[in-house]
Amino acid sequence: MPSSFLVRRSIRLIITFFIIVILDFLLPRLMPGNPVAILVKQSGLPDSAIQQLTKQFELDKPLYDQFIAYIVNLFKGNWGYSYRYYPTPVKDLIFQRLPWTLLLLGTSSITVFLFGVFQGFLAGWRHGTKTDSTITLVAVLVYAIPYYWLALVLQYFFGYKLKWLPTSQALTFGAVYHNFLDYALDVARHLVLPVTAITLTAYAAYTLVTRNTMIDVLGEDFIVTAKAKGLPERKVMWHAARNAMLPPVTMLAIRLGHMVGGAVFTETVFSYPGVGLLIYESIIYKDYPVLNAAFFILAITVIIANFIADLLYAWLDPRVRYR
């Protein structure tokens, strides 16, 4: 991998980073409404508490002072205190919830990718057969179902009617765990429905893209060559699959942002204590420090994911050079 490629990628990365930092600071503050006034009124405190809390949260300072403080804190790795959860440091709040979101998103990314891409391969390989049309039809149908509706149906059917799986939360509260397996099983039980909801609503995009690429790839000369030189079916399929894998990999990186959006819905419906839910609540209450930190982490994650996708791309397709 030539170093000039890395250097140029890194410079782009830094520029993107700074644009993100500025937007991250401004966007929450551009929303109308005063966070302190809302907090005071919602919690039934007297009017005079507004000034008191404005001072406490340093919102009485001019915007540029707040911006400087924000930048300084960012580099110190200190995001200040949450307004709503005062005096909880934003860092604690996010790191309490991040593992849950990572678990949810990680698991569903894997299931979405495997499920979606596999079906896409199958449909593309059997292009024109009944398998193809069934897979495509089902994918398009499921794709059209709204996220939260599917989540609610799953919750109602498996949680409430059949009582097989818990309807909400990430752990059974009040449960006593005897060993790690116990704990892992409990976490897994709570993960099934949210992951299923995300998988079902997100896999179709991968299936459709993979299927189309697969059909394209199957028409390429090297496939004809491979078949002509008498390679077994399976090996030909792998040849095609490896090439058809490129668009879904890129998609995985790009759709990470979408997945977080999905996580907000899913976490809300299933009361899953993750970052998505935290963002949702913080937007309502205009908890600037939390929003800044959460958006920052998300943006960084997406940037890094894209960076990794670039590298993966080159690895999967030898024709892509690191220039």
Partner: protein, 634 residues
Amino acid sequence: MIKDRIKIIGMSVILAVMLLSLISPSIAHAQQKETVLKVGIPGEIDNFNPLIGLFGAAGYIRGLLFDTLLIMPSNRSYCPWLAQSWTVNEKNLTITFKLRPNLKWHDGQPLTAKDVEFTFNLIINSKYTPKLDRWNLHNYIAYVKAIDNRTVVFKLKEPFAPILWYIGLLIPVLPEHIWSKVDPTTFKNTEHPIGSGPFKFVKYTPGVSVELEAFDDYFAGRPKIDKLIIGLYKSTDSVLLDLQAGAIDAIAGMTVAPELVPTLLKDPHIRVVIRPDLGYIRFMGFNLDKYPFNVREFREAVAYAIDKDYIVKTVMLGYADPAADGWVQPIQGIWYNKAIGYRKQNLTKAMQILDSIGFIDRDGDGIRETPNGTKLEFTLLTLAGRTEFERTAEIIANWLNQIGIKVKVEAYSLGTVDHKEGVGDFDMGLMGVGGLTAEIDYYLYPRFHSSGAPPIGKYAPRNWFRYRNPEVDKLLEEQRTELNLTKRIQIVYKIQEIIAHDIPVVTLYVKRYVTAYRTDRFVNWNEKEGPASKLSLLQVKPRGPATVTTTKTATSVTTSVVTTSKVYTTVVKTTISGTPTTVVKTMTSATTYTTTVPVTYTKKTGISTAAAIGIAIIIAIIAAAIAYWAAKRG
């Protein structure tokens, strides 16, 4: 091929085992020897510091961990709690509380008058006062002093009628031996909070739950349940689903939406309760600094166009009451002026009033004009995404259109609505507030005193309709200093009359507080005080198969109120021993009552193991069949 098939079968077996382990009754639910009651609450925990806490969900738990000097049951009278009696001396401006004997903190230390003195001094007279005294109590309280271990005196600077609410109900007593070592403005207290309430802290899992256990040395007797777990939910829907699924026994901190009540009622194990003393008021405020909203007759015409009963019936499906015009509502008991009532819809009268002040449709387009020719076209601001508000707004807009006032409904998010109303960038605003349980001064003063109404452009927190009436200002100030209850009530009555006449806001309806609980695992809930309330959780006990009837002489519980003409003194004595009894009740004679023997309860979730194995096998066979078919074709 055979190798493949073995692989496929192997995979299927693994898959089956995984599925089986997921749906079989989890080991996590293995035998629970203690009785555990679970309450679901929507919301989060900010901290367990009652002096700086903001959140409702955390507030509920803080209320169970900590105790106040007094308590206010649903009959809305001050009743003894940590203090067994208190005396108000009107002349000296002192309030003396006598604590119960042998009070203890959760860590075994004695709770004394010194702790009370410490707690209130922290707020009114310490270096933390600027940050902690959110209620400006230092303006009213001169000093707090512990006379002996069980007696504490509050000396007031000036007569302040609502004081009992602040010192008796709002601020809990904190343990000096812990809080003197911390900075109370940043103390989160989530590690191991020590209080004196009926439940002790066990564990807090952020975002998931808070576990509490019964406090053995509680003055009103140990609660009958061993453990209380409060599950933190992110939506009211998931709370109700879990209540129906039996994962929780009661709900707190939320009201059930009217359209969901029928579903709950279908379940024979769920009881739905309407709290008689709680509710939320919905109202429409006018921008009184804007023409023509500053014309009283115009506001009256608008008020006559609204049918409160219709909104209650259609939008609220009957789970609300038409609101009284004077802002104070019947559920607020003694403070409500029964002569007020509410305006019935009268469109003819509304149109007559508009005609009489010269608001007439001159160009025949169906919209009236003001005498100087401006069309009566306004916006009605309300909250987006809240069906209740949006529907009510649409209905009102329709009525106003009928009398020749064109109204467009604009719905925004909470932050936007709050900002627009605060700075006066609106015509009419449809909003809702809670706080009907608060002290009447707290409910009225910030909303109707002109000190809360800065000019347009400056943010007005509660009096955003900008009502300024010198007479009301004077009455509001008067009731604050009037220590004689009867006289104070008369002033509050008068305020209601003026508000009902002036119509700065059109009160619409009072949404009822609907709660629910399960009856299959626990009995003896207190519905009147709310199933998940402190008083209810003190008496609720597990349902057992065997019921034993015992006869026991109940210890006497007496409540007496002595009022002398000169010095206004209230003495309330309550002895609670044996069974925890709500202080509202008065029992003097020997009573026969039933006790149920607590029986160990084991929770089973999921389906039976046999069924699970069956399902797993079926799934495995199907999986194997699909795999076989795929392998054969491939």
